[in-house]
């Protein structure tokens, strides 16, 4: 079933009337500009300058940039929380201020702004009702999502008792309550421990595998690099770079070779081969794992074999 047909099927809620609508283009911004003004209309900040973007179906798109570069402003403009000063933002071919577009959107804000006096179950029930979901469908979604984010044990506790990581999880669950086609994530990994970060990244990749479109903004570059297909780099409201992550990060005049079980002598031979072909040997060395990998390995091992973990010091003492 095509995207257009799917849109038709949702009945009177989301009727596509835009003749130029390309179902593969989920987000399109044209000359999108946002100027913040004070009460008297004087210009305070030009937060976004003439942004032109296109996010296609099924990709994970990253918005990158330092604080105050216009990432969150872009997301808020896409959601209709802010009105553009000029230009326009289209989501599913509809103007971003249209309420009906929200039926296919999931949004996880920067700090999971949720009602602290509700329990996890009540929170999801409330947001489910906002999607006009019938009771049985809602209950099914709530149960599966709570299990998915691993909060079954705490589903009847009020959110004010939740840790930051738990709040983040329930925040993600509420963003997915409607099984959205487009998920907007504002700093999805902020405040999460490495384990949570990895789970979040896995979740994002899982969304991609379900052919959903994800737009995330972050300043944690490693996270963006791990999951994003394409990125846009913003600086002071201007688009500085746009493209596929692989293309952007590829260093075209260098070559790296990875091998396992190679003796030390072979290094010299390889260096000779490189020189023979007129190349410069930059480095031949054993690669390092990342701290994230190390940490996750330790946690995984501890889960498999509870008890004190044997460290290198222990081994020395034993011998």
């Amino acid at each position: 079933m095509t995207e257009a047909a799917a849109a038709e099927q949702t009945g009177d809620r989301l009727v596509q009337t835009n003749p130029d609508y390309d179902p593969d283009v989920i987000i399109e911004t044209q000359n999108l500009t946002k100027v913040y003004r004070d009460f008297w209309g004087r210009q305070k900040v030009r937060a976004l300058k003439a942004l032109d973007l296109e996010v296609r179906k099924g990709e994970i798109f990253g918005l990158l940039g330092p604080n105050g570069s216009g990432k969150s402003t872009t997301i808020k403009l896409l959601l209709g929380l802010l009105f553009p000063t000029s230009g326009r933002a289209l989501v599913f071919g509809k103007d971003s201020t249209e309420t009906t577009k929200n039926e296919r959107i999931g949004y996880l804000p920067e700090e999971s702004y949720l009602y602290k006096f509700l329990t996890a179950e009540e929170t999801l029930d409330f947001y489910g009702r906002l999607f006009d979901m019938p009771s049985d469908v809602r209950q099914q979604r709530i149960d599966s999502l709570i299990e998915k984010v691993g909060l079954t044990w705490a589903k009847r506790r009020q959110l004010k008792e939740y840790s930051k990581g738990m709040t983040r999880r329930i925040g993600l669950a509420q963003a997915l309550i409607n099984d959205p086609d487009l998920v907007l994530l504002d700093e999805p990994t902020s405040g999460l421990d490495p384990l949570g970060t990895r789970e979040m990244k896995d979740m994002i990749l899982e969304l991609k595998s379900q052919n959903k479109t994800v737009v995330m903004c972050s300043h944690l570059l490693a996270d963006v690099q791990d999951v994003c297909d394409r990125i846009a780099i913003l600086y002071q409201g201007e688009l500085k770079e746009l493209g596929a992550v692989d293309d952007l990060l590829q260093v075209s005049d260098e070559t790296s070779v990875r091998a396992r079980g190679l003796p030390q002598e072979a290094h010299e031979e390889i260096a000779q081969v490189i020189r023979k072909h007129g190349g410069d040997v930059v480095a031949i060395e054993n690669p390092r794992t990342t701290l994230e990998e190390l940490f996750l390995n330790i946690v995984r091992e501890s889960e498999e074999r509870p008890g004190r973990r044997a460290t290198s010091e222990d081994r020395e003492q034993g011998s």
Partner: protein
């Protein structure tokens, strides 16, 4: 308290008698509000986007408004309403309001007992307490809810769902309304129990040490208090609930063939004196709006619980009062006795034609439950022109006469009753039971006497629903004073619980307006400013009648600037100011001020029209028309405010 006559709901809505009906004014205001909204919206949009783009922006908002209201989902509204209510409950706002109420009731009782009219004080206390707490509570929760959501950015997760702005506003109003209704119900039931318990009491009759009841002779000259007619001896009851009653023995002299007194329980002895029987019976005087039934058997007295509280009286006032001077000419006002306060007009006593005529309409047996005796309540002023004796009471004469319907003056017979005489009780409401069958005469339209006999007040006198009550002062050289509201029939009482419910419905209506005000203001103001604006509106609303009295063009002493000038230049209110250019400018500015105040009083809801606490306090029935009019006023304001809230929330950015 005077219960003013009130128009019927249909007349009020669609009538054209004194200006257009409320419904037409409402339609006019809707049109005016739409035009103003479009103009104001365009101005703001032009300021933000430039004059050309502004047309497009305004058109878009207007075009979106239709679907936003047509496609609202009850499930989403219910979800938001439930969330709003849950928030207030979990933040313990309700609990605190309820604790304050409970504490006020616990300790309030100490200060109430012992009051002159405990029922009034009790009812006033619970009504005011409930009103104040409910309005404060809903004002707080409605003023803080939306601004808190915007400040804490929880609105981000709501507004990014397919929720329409109309649903956010409506859901909140309904959620708070449900919560307030629950609390109001609880407070109402507790209040009723509290008042009922507080007023329930009985007394003992004071006894001497040997256990005998000692009755003393009635002697107004030494005791200084006025006893009932025909009272011979008296004593007092014990002091309970802060008051005592007088217990009197009254000599009731009747013909031998006349029926005995109705309340034979209270008769302690009877003796025959010639052609008459003298019944000596006990009577307990009214104190603080109630009395007790007393019964006597085998030398013991038994007093019942308080009677006379919890009434929903329905006064039937005269539509018109006409005074006649000594020569019998009609006058708009009665004789002046030099009183500064011109509320009452006086009729002079003795053999003159001076009298007052009260014209009643809709005087039917149904309104009195077909009773044999009709209660007539009188509050008469007395002006004495003789010196010395102030204890002898002035005598009043009452006479009923039929009033022919229009066009029937030439053909209809007229009934006129004989003069009913009794002593007036000054400074107090006097209740007279008028028998339904009265002796009188029938006259032909030309004034010829046709016959005499006993005639029925409803079937004969007021066959067309109209009747005239003529009041005369019987004693020579004395004067009786009265105003239209001083004499009224008491139609059959209505059910008290229903009247009490109506009183609380009045609070509910006020609550709905306060919630709408709070939610609507909070869409464009911060929480503290919303509270301030709501409080100002409530205060203005409660006093709008009083304020509009000052805001008239020819108010004595002028407007604010003229008053200030008069204060500084020490000119009194009556003194004309010199006709200079300065004075003219000053008056013009004052006119603008007065116009502004007038328009504000016209815009803010008139809370005094929704407040029925006085009716309950004084025990008057709140008519259905009054309640319906109040409901219409509330409905109109709530609709207007919800739309205001919708448009202001729709056109604002929720993130910033």
């Amino acid at each position: 308290m005077v219960v003013e006559t009130f128009p019927e709901i249909m007349t009020w809505l669609f009538g054209w008698q004194d200006g257009p009906g409320a419904f037409y004014i409402f339609l006019l205001l809707v049109v005016a509000a739409c035009l103003f909204g479009l103009f104001f919206g365009y101005l703001v949009a032009a300021f933000r986007h430039g004059p050309g783009e502004a047309f497009y922006v305004v058109a878009k908002v207007v075009a979106n408004a239709g679907p936003d209201w047509i496609r609202i989902s009850p499930r989403r509204i219910f979800a938001i309403a439930r969330l709003a209510a849950k928030e207030a409950v979990r933040r313990r706002v309700i609990l605190i309001a309820f604790i304050i109420f409970a504490v006020a009731l616990l300790f309030g009782g100490w200060f109430i007992s012992g009051a002159d009219n405990p029922e009034r004080v009790y009812i006033n206390f619970v009504m005011w307490g409930t009103q104040l707490l409910i309005l404060m509570m809903v004002m707080l929760i409605s003023a803080f809810s939306l601004p808190d959501d915007i400040k804490n950015r929880t609105i981000y997760t709501v507004a990014t769902k397919p929720v329409r702005t109309s649903e956010i506003v409506l859901g909140r109003v309904l959620g708070f309304a449900a919560l307030g209704t629950g609390l109001l119900l609880l407070m109402g039931v507790i209040s009723l129990l509290f008042v009922w318990r507080g007023l329930s009491h009985s007394h003992e009759i004071s006894r001497a040490e040997n256990g005998e009841v000692v009755m003393s002779e009635v002697d107004p000259f030494t005791t200084g208090h006025r006893a009932s007619e025909n009272a011979v001896t008296e004593t007092t009851t014990s002091l309970d609930s802060g008051h005592r009653h007088w217990v009197e023995i009254i000599e009731d002299v009747r013909d031998k063939d006349a029926p005995p007194p109705v309340n034979m329980d209270s008769v302690i002895s009877q003796e025959t004196r010639g052609e008459k029987i003298v019944y000596r019976r006990l009577n307990v005087t009214h104190e603080g709006g109630h009395t007790h039934k007393i019964s006597y058997s085998d030398g013991g007295y038994d007093m019942s619980d308080a009677r006379g509280f919890f009434r929903a009286r329905v006064p039937l006032y005269a539509d018109q009062l006409v005074f006649y001077d000594r020569q019998g000419s009609p006058r708009r006002k009665g004789i002046s006795v030099g009183d500064q306060w011109g509320y009452r007009g006086y009729v002079s006593g003795g053999v003159t034609l001076s009298r007052a005529e009260f014209y009643f309409s809709d005087f039917t047996a149904n309104r009195f439950d077909n009773a044999d005796k009709l209660p007539l309540e009188l509050t008469l002023g007395v002006f004495r022109s003789t010196m010395g004796d102030i204890y002898t009471r002035v005598r009043v004469g009452l006479q009923f006469e039929s009033v022919p319907a229009e066009g029937d003056e030439e053909t209809g017979n007229r009934f006129r009753s004989e003069l009913l005489e009794f002593e007036s009780q000054e400074f107090d409401v006097q209740v007279k039971a008028i028998p339904r069958k009265l002796p009188g005469q029938v006259f032909a339209p030309n004034g010829e006497l046709i016959g005499s006999g006993i005639y029925d007040l409803f079937d004969d006198f007021a066959a067309n629903g109209n009747i005239k009550l003529i009041v005369r002062c019987v004693d020579e050289n004395q004067y009786l004073g009265m105003a239209r509201a001083d004499i009224y029939f008491r139609a059959a009482d209505q059910a008290y619980w229903w009247n009490f419910t109506k009183g609380y419905m009045g609070i509910w209506l006020q609550m709905m307006i306060v919630i709408s005000l709070g939610v609507s203001f909070s869409t464009f103001l911060s929480a503290p400013v919303t509270m301030l604006a709501t409080i100002c509106t409530i205060i203005f609303g409660f006093f709008s009648d009083a304020i509009s009295k000052f805001a008239v063009p020819d108010v004595e002493g002028g407007g604010p600037i003229e008053s200030l000038v008069r204060l500084i230049t020490q000119k009194n209110m009556g003194q004309p100011l010199p006709d200079t250019l300065g004075t003219q400018i000053m008056e013009r500015i004052d006119m603008v001020f007065i116009g502004m105040v007038r328009s504000v009083t016209d815009i803010v809801p008139n809370f005094s029209r929704l407040d029925f606490s006085d009716f309950l306090t004084y025990g008057y029935f709140v008519s259905n028309d009054r309640l319906l009019v109040a409901a219409c006023i509330t409905g109109a304001f709530c609709v207007g405010l919800v739309f205001l809230g919708y448009f202001s929330l729709k056109t604002r950015e929720l993130a910033g």
